[in-house]
């Protein structure tokens, strides 16, 4: 009985660290059978960040568990001829192959797209690399922050006049992973329609650039560079030019809320929610244009109100008046306190063989007929050898024993 959106789709997953595993997490959460292929001599770096108090096992990383739930895992040495043969057999019974190595690695293994097609004519092959598989810099490599820097995203984040603040995490590992999942699913749809597979060449740097589309058009249409006074805009909103729109200090140590007001009607509701303090009725704040002009003063005055309140008190008071305001939430607040995330069952739990009960961030979309499901924790290193090599590929037990002896996996 079909239950998940991607039931019946099998994925051979060579991906590691964050970007590729983000793609395959999407596919696995919605029902695809994702089989991670790992090499036990070069572990996924994410296996090397054990959770506190859990010892040194490769199976106790929280980050790895969160990213690789719902996947199966085997180890394999593809440099051994028998290992390569097993891999080719596995590709022959799979729908999608995903890797995020530097460009050229799969070709060196003799498994570029043309070769994969010979094994599985309708294979969908996603390669997710820093710069793509063509062009003069294809052998350059990226980490998430490299791609963010090169695509223009780092520069767009910060206070005017200061160094870039950039992104405090590998945003482009997430986002390239999302585009990888979209590409796989669009290619699946095309295959459902025509029976045809294809090769998807995704460059992490390129997938970041369209996110800056408006800034690029400013240059190509109006000839205006982004590097100019006032950019980046901090937490203000130059386009549309509205005020107030900023972060505001709240009660507590380094606690903040955000308030964003887009028109005069919202401003009136805001003033009302604050109890109509004298400063707020000054003529210089009466229209949006004038508020934008005087926003330095305006922001200071608003802070006299927010500093008396916690971020959540400020948010609830303003939201009750229909104002788009929010607390700058900490991870602790998201996990332990956010009533919306709790209501939506966002944090899920399941038992992991070495870590016991473990928690996971959820999926933000509910599909009414084929929802995502937390079925499995992340695989222990080599956990599913019997299922994959014996049950799925039919390798006899004595052969498996011999291969284990010869370090094929």
């Amino acid at each position: 009985m079909r239950k998940h959106a991607l039931d019946g789709v099998r994925v051979v997953d060579f991906s590691w660290i964050v970007a590729g595993p983000t793609t395959t997490r999407m596919l696995a959460d919605f029902g695809a059978e994702v089989i991670r292929i790992e090499y036990d001599q070069t572990l996924d770096y994410m296996r090397n960040t054990p959770s506190v108090g859990m010892g040194n096992s490769p199976n106790v990383s929280g980050t790895f568990n969160n990213l690789n739930r719902n996947k199966l895992g085997v180890t394999l040495n593809v440099m051994h001829p028998d290992g390569m043969e097993l891999l080719r057999e596995l590709i022959s019974v799979s729908d999608i192959v995903v890797e995020n190595f530097s460009s050229g690695v799969l070709s060196r293994w003799g498994l570029d797209y043309e070769e994969q097609r010979k094994i599985r004519p309708d294979v969908i092959y996603l390669s997710l690399s820093g710069f793509g598989h063509s062009g003069p810099d294809q052998h350059f490599t990226t980490w998430g922050p490299t791609a963010q820097a090169l695509s223009g995203l780092t520069y767009m984040s910060g206070l005017p006049g200061e160094d870039p603040a950039g992104w405090g995490f590998s945003y482009m590992d997430h986002t390239a992973g999302y585009y990888g999942a979209m590409a796989c699913m669009m290619a699946l749809h095309h295959r459902n329609k025509t029976g045809e597979g294809q090769w998807l060449d995704l460059s992490q740097v390129e997938s970041g650039i369209p996110l800056t589309g408006t800034a690029i058009l400013e240059k190509t249409v109006n000839g205006r560079q982004y590097r100019q006074k006032g950019n980046p805009p901090g937490n203000r909103s130059p386009n549309p030019a509205v005020a107030p729109h900023n972060t505001y200090r709240c009660k507590g140590d380094d606690r903040w809320c955000v308030i964003s007001i887009f028109d005069d009607q919202q401003w009136a509701a805001f003033v009302d929610a604050l109890g109509t303090p004298d400063w707020a009725t000054a003529t210089r704040f009466a229209t949006n244009e004038s508020r934008v002009q005087h926003q330095d003063d305006l922001d200071m005055l608003i802070e006299t109100w927010t500093t008396e309140r916690t971020p959540h008190e400020a948010m609830h008071t303003l939201q009750a008046a229909g104002i788009a305001a929010g607390a700058v939430q900490t991870p602790k607040e998201k996990v332990d306190e956010d009533p919306q995330l709790r209501h939506r069952d966002f944090i899920r739990e399941t038992v992991h063989a070495e870590m016991g009960n473990t928690r996971f961030e959820g999926q933000p979309m509910n599909l009414s007929k084929s929802p995502w499901e937390l079925r499995l924790p992340s695989p222990l290193l080599g956990e599913h050898a019997d299922y994959v090599y014996h049950q799925l590929l039919g390798t006899p037990d004595e052969e498996i024993a011999r291969m284990a002896e010869e370090a094929v996996f």
Partner: protein, 416 residues
Amino acid sequence: MNDDQRALSDITMLDLCDEKGQLMGKLMGDMGARVIKIEPPSGARARSIGPFLNDEDDPEYSLYFWANNTSKESITLNLESEGGQSIFRQLASKANVVLESFDPGYLSSLGLDYASLSADNPELIMTSLTGFGQDGPYRDYKTSDIVALAMGGVMHSCGYDDVPGSPPIRPSGGHGYMIGAHYALMGTLMALNWRDMTGEGQYVDASIHEACSCTTEAAMPQYMYNGDVVHRQTGRHHGVASTPKTLCATSDGKFVNVFAVFTSLHAWRTLVTWMDSEDMAEDLTDEKYLDMAAMRTRSGPEVSHAYDVLRRFIASHPADYIYRGSQERKFPWGVVRSPDETLDDPHLWERGFFEEVEHPEIGQSFVYPGRPYVFSKTPWQTRRAPLLGEHNKKVYGQDLGISDTELEGLVSSGVI
């Protein structure tokens, strides 16, 4: 080019989204779906957001609208009129997908919720993208891009540790909405595969708050598994413990982002040899710097001295020299470019990334950023964003068979 080669050429979508969800229709349109953007007769609000062509505040000249609405058709329709609702029902009865981002409950107050639309069209997929989802205590809370990034925890991780008193920073450019749209689109494509397999449509309820909440990398597992709360650091990863600053200033007023300095002895020696070849390694050739395991702990005078020497080396060269020189030596370093500086990168042009998009009514074509992925068989193809109501005749006349006289009546009664 034959349209049938495109991955989504068989899909017709109705796009009711505002700024929150407009990216979904663009990405599907660029892959071949027929995307009909339904705008109020006065035009989508995004058309009023600048910058504008030649700084002229005109609904056809918004570069923000252009960037996020390529490859769509546009019709005008007043959904709050009875005539408008009846036309929308007709369109939805023939569509494959409806995308919307109204406040929860709005479409059902017009009788246009999924249950009633799918009654005539059980294969229909409908995706709703909202600030907080269709139910729960925050369902009716208002969102904005900065609210999404604050509540979801993105801002908690972004900002400065060396600018006293500075707030968390929202990376600018509309990413809160884009993160929501990316997830809502993935949900829509999942639903499409389900439909391909079963012939059944379904409803997709996507929450921007949750989308941002799972786009913060280690912040969540650090707390869920270790009980640690990460803090923000200038231009680099959030951390539980402080790490050395990775942004290094260059001689031309830019920055490069420097990592993996102590990953292996080979990498370290490669780097020191590079600096030494320009007599700038100072004392880093000394063997007391060779204990990589100790250097990786990222504290102590040797580490900060090594970074100081490295910073001096970098500060005496232009950014591009350091970028290319480091990459040729297998370091994953990058230049912090402004977005338009990507236009100067020959690698991107050689891969055919940028493309010219024609704007015939202006008599010009402009360079746009191109595709986020290259499909070997099904092409990406971009048309400029539609003019307001540009496709009224095509959709109402040809698709629905409404006569010219009837159309005039619908215009004068404010339905379209």
